[in-house]
Amino acid sequence: MKIKFTSELKWHIILILFIIVSLFPIVFAISSSFKTLNEAYSNVFGIIPNSPTINNYTEVFTRLPFFKITINTFSIAACVTLFKTITALFAAYSFVYFDFKYKNIIYFFLISTIFIPFTVTMIPNYLTISKLNLNDNLLGVILPQLSDATGIFLIRQAIRGVPPSLIEVAKLEKIGHLRIIKDILVPLVKPAIISTGIMFFINSWNEYVWPVLILKSKENFTLPLALQLFISSEGGTDFTIAMAVSVVTMIIPLVLYIIFQKYIINTFASSGIKG
């Protein structure tokens, strides 16, 4: 027992240290966002502010159309997530259940696009969006992101875990593909779909480089772009306000995480019923 206790203690200490390192920036951001700028410099690591203030938050909302910016970010993230997930689901279904010529080669090429850096596609995409006159338009940010090979890969893996006999039963019942996806597949691979969706959402929510290329006016900004205003020369060095923006940026993904955490943790579907 003693041996077990000491060996476990080691892991507990490592994990606790890991949690502290992970949580520190968040706690630091929340705490600083309620400090005055002076206190932020004098009492850098104090977790509880001496004289808490919400001035930083009111400042954020008066200086920028913050509500609009949050809606922009949410709209982009929601559209991108929805379309990427749906296209990934359909593509994954086809790759698993349809037999077509060159299936494996097509799949191989599709998956290899995961390894193409963003900087390679950035310029062609930018030129296309400019030609479409979608500069400084939310649609311009959304359009190149409607499908994604990572999602196809993840959902395909989940679908492969569904016993083929379930789909064969549906085929024998003459049930169409859309209905099979809706009634049988989606309920069975729901955790994988949701965790993939959350991943898409968070990636899109945090995205900086592509929106900064497309979006020009503050009206159309997303949260990461707004955050940049306060830590660049334009916004000066008022980092308590920047921290307030960070906290606001964090809220929606955090709420989503809390709602869907059971799916994220439990990614694998309970598939197959055997006696």
Partner: protein, 362 residues
Amino acid sequence: MKEIIFENICKSYGKTKVVNNLNLTIKEGERLVLLGPSGCGKSTILRIIAGLEDITSGKLYMNDDCVNDVPSGDRNVAMVFQNYALFPHMTVEDNITYGLKVHKVPKEEVKKRLEAALEMLKLKGLENRKPKDLSGGQRQRVALARAVVKKSDFFLLDEPLSNLDAQLRGHARKELVKIHETCGQTFVYVTHDQVEAMTVGDRVALMNEGTLQMIDTPHNVYNKPANVFTAKFIGAPSTNIFPVDYLDGKIALGNQNLILPQMWINKIVDSGCKNLYFGIRPEHINFSRIEIDNAFKGFVKYIEDYGNRFGIYIEVEGNEIIAMCDKNQLKSGDIVYFSPDFTKIHLFDRNTTMSIGYPEEL
């Protein structure tokens, strides 16, 4: 006619032939059992009927129409899978009625069929449970109920009892036969269990390595096997098979001879075949420690105790032969004399391994 006809059907995966030139007619309303060892192609045949596998060559007819290109959904078949394939996220009721509801069968009709199926398969009270909350036997019955409510012309079962324990299996077997008698569809049943095949089937089709070995009634498959494979596969312990040579009314095994009855001599002469395999089931051998007429002489190698009877392994001229008896007074090393019951023997051509046939008297 609600028949299924296989005409020269072949199925290959790449270079591997899984079904080899199959010609078979499954009659309307019969219970046909496809029996064979693992990997013999029996499940593939069932999946070909269901339309879940395409055919490499040949033609498949159902209800007098060639269905080679007809998708599974249009073949009017119901299938019970080995793993039951119940939808884990649906209740028992939804599992059973899902197909009917998708095809917009009127609600009263769905309810009527559901009630009848629940009644028939003793699933009353379990309607709202999910598959994970059911026992193996209950899941199997839900899978059957789902097939029953479909009221299709053909009922396909892929080893439906293999996940049940022995006791439940015996019970489920009787239930299956009862369902067939009530519904009257054409049943095609796949199993590797010969007891199941014999008790369920009106006819048994025995497969090996993608080739049909024999198709006949369970009685004939057991008593008049068409070839060595059938003789050895059916029955446990399996039929003793050993090579013998025919000469002047006698068969010779090494240095020992056995005089054949006239009916067998005629049969052998008709067949023109002299190099034979001799087949005899362990339960059809008479043996004694005292010398008996027209018998082979051997010695006891070892004895197996099955509880209700004994298996005596006898070595004769380099061949191992097993004989069954109820009481045992023998021990290893004893000299024994044994003679087969000539009304129960089987003779096969050694070149083709096919039976030379049976005398008319039998």
